[in-house]
């Protein structure tokens, strides 16, 4: 299968069950909403070292936020509910509470609600104020007003936690580093327009794909040598002589369909640069299909088949 002259491998991305949540962050203006959201989603590229994988989903207009101020929505994913709860509380305390004018609200409804400001309220040292206010549907929601030096920090008590999927991915293989990066930027631009997904790595792109295991006994994972262009000829390489650079886009989402749709948009955008611009091949990362619960097969996805 080819797309604009780019070979599409007959392979699949292997993804895992995760727990996810969405938080709406508002502030006096978008600058400060982004300051808060960037801090909250900083150092959240991979669960391996960061506990959670998080990213900004999209901007929110004044009409879309509970307090009528501009904001952004953030998605956060973890391998388990306990880690997600811990990380959310820590990041709320260090990144949102501290950010001038920022407020945080639930961005998703679920039967499982986890603490957003429920414990953070104690920062108020007894001066915190609870308000229960009905939303547009008449459902009562509890907010906490915590006195801080810039006025009041406002946060909803809880947000929903849902089952989600992490680790959807595809690899862009090209003739040069610059060309692959350009293709990945186009892919990320396309994927960021879609709801319910985030690409947690820096700028949405990761260059250090890994394989399971290492020659060093203490390492659980190490560089994906089969896709390292400088090791062609030394290891059992997946790369042909034309490939000088490989980059990966990892995508986490709320459902299988969300990830499949975003992968399709991303691959199509990357391939739109075509073979003439040095984009040679699209592949995907997997572990032989034995570890992950979800398989995103590239060719069916590009054909519009997105069923699990």
């Amino acid at each position: 299968m080819q797309l604009n002259g780019v070979d599409i491998d007959d392979t699949f991305a292997e993804a895992f069950n995760m727990r996810g949540t969405r938080i709406l962050i508002t502030a006096q203006n978008l600058r400060w909403a982004y300051n808060a959201a960037n801090a909250m989603t900083g150092f959240a590229t991979s669960v391996i070292g960061c506990g959670v994988e998080a990213g900004i989903e999209r901007e929110l207009s004044e009409d879309e936020t509970p307090d009528g101020r501009p904001g952004v929505s953030v998605l956060m994913f973890a391998m388990g509910s306990k880690v997600l709860m811990q990380q959310l509380e820590t990041r709320m305390g260090q990144c949102i509470l501290t950010c001038p004018t920022a407020a945080a609200f639930a961005g998703i409804e679920s039967e499982e609600m986890i603490s957003l400001g429920k414990h953070l309220r104690f920062f108020g040292d007894g001066y915190q104020v609870s308000k229960q206010i009905p939303d547009a549907t008449g459902k009562l929601k509890r907010y906490w007003r915590i006195p801080v030096m810039d006025g009041e920090f406002l946060t909803e008590e809880t947000t929903g936690m849902v089952r989600a999927i992490g680790g959807g991915n595809f690899l862009v293989l090209g003739a040069s580093q610059a060309q692959v990066l350009t293709a990945c930027e186009a892919a990320i631009d396309a994927m960021r327009k879609l709801p319910n997904v985030i690409m947690p790595f820096p700028g949405g792109v990761v260059r250090s794909g890994s394989k399971v295991g290492s020659k060093y006994p203490k390492m659980f994972a190490s560089t994906n040598d089969a896709f390292c262009p400088t090791l062609k000829g030394v290891v059992k390489s997946e790369l042909d002589p034309r490939v000088e650079s490989v980059m990966e886009i990892v995508v986490n989402g709320l459902t299988f369909e969300d990830i499949a749709v975003s992968m399709k948009a991303g691959i199509e955008a990357a391939c739109s640069l075509g073979k003439d611009n040095g984009i040679l091949r699209v592949s995907a990362g997997n572990y032989g299909g034995k570890l992950g619960q979800h398989h995103f097969k590239l060719r069916p996805i590009l054909s519009g088949e997105v069923t699990a």
């Binding site: 509970p66 009528g68 229960q132 009905p134 009041e152």
Partner: protein, 223 residues
């Protein structure tokens, strides 16, 4: 759910309305409601014309033509919406547990007394001891307030459109722009009330009653 409309008849005595709550009257017929005893020698049919409309989303009661003789309207209410199209007597919304109570006219003494949750919105004036011993919730008054406002108030919010008289046990915390008010005002906009027209987030904040727990607040809306 039903919308029960109680139109007050002229009576030469006070009327205790505490039995006439939205949830308590759900599923009852006009005859059932008319037969409810409000006092030993006073039933609903003596004090009100009763009509019932089915098919509303939340339990609702509307009082019409009420006066300051109608006491305990919304006393201990736990859910739904209660509208008073007239004045209300003492203890309007006292011990309110939840739901929304809107009074289009004036309220007499001790409106919101020991209120625990929910919203009590008075479009007219409130009498003495408004919000007395209030434990939580939101009590709004667009008109004037009487003496001893928030007497013994523990927690909760008194949202006022007019500045009250200064009181020794309430501390002025200054002027502020509070973001949560936007959320509160959004909920007001869903109501058929003059409160839906409020938009200013700038308020003067007072804390009290320092004679007790002192974690209540009076927010005076600034134009």
């Amino acid at each position: 759910m039903s919308h029960i409309i109680l139109t007050a008849k002229p009576v030469s005595r006070t009327v205790d309305c505490r039995a006439l709550l939205p949830l308590a009257l759900q599923g009852k017929t006009v005859a059932d409601i008319s037969a409810i005893k409000l006092a030993a020698n006073l039933s609903v049919s003596d004090a009100f014309e009763v009509s019932v409309d089915a098919g509303v989303e939340t339990p609702k009661v509307t009082f019409k033509n009420t006066t300051s003789s109608h006491h305990y309207i919304g006393f201990g209410m736990t859910a739904g919406q209660l509208i008073v199209e007239g004045d209300a007597g003492d203890f309007l919304g006292a011990q309110l547990q939840n739901g929304v109570l809107i009074c289009k006219g004036n309220a007499s003494a001790r409106a919101g007394d020991r209120m625990r949750r929910g919203m009590l919105l008075i479009e007219g004036n409130a009498g003495d001891y408004c919000g007395s011993d209030m434990m939580a919730g939101t009590l709004g008054v667009l008109g004037s307030t009487g003496t001893h406002l928030g007497y013994g108030m523990k927690r909760g919010t008194l949202l006022l459109a007019q500045a009250p008289a200064p009181q020794a046990t309430w501390i002025d915390c200054g002027f502020h722009k509070l973001p949560f008010l936007n959320i509160l005002y959004k909920s007001f906009k869903l109501l058929d009330s003059r409160f839906a027209q409020i938009s200013s987030q700038r308020v003067q904040r007072w804390m009290g009653d320092m004679g007790g727990l002192g974690k209540g607040e009076i927010l005076v809306i600034q134009s």
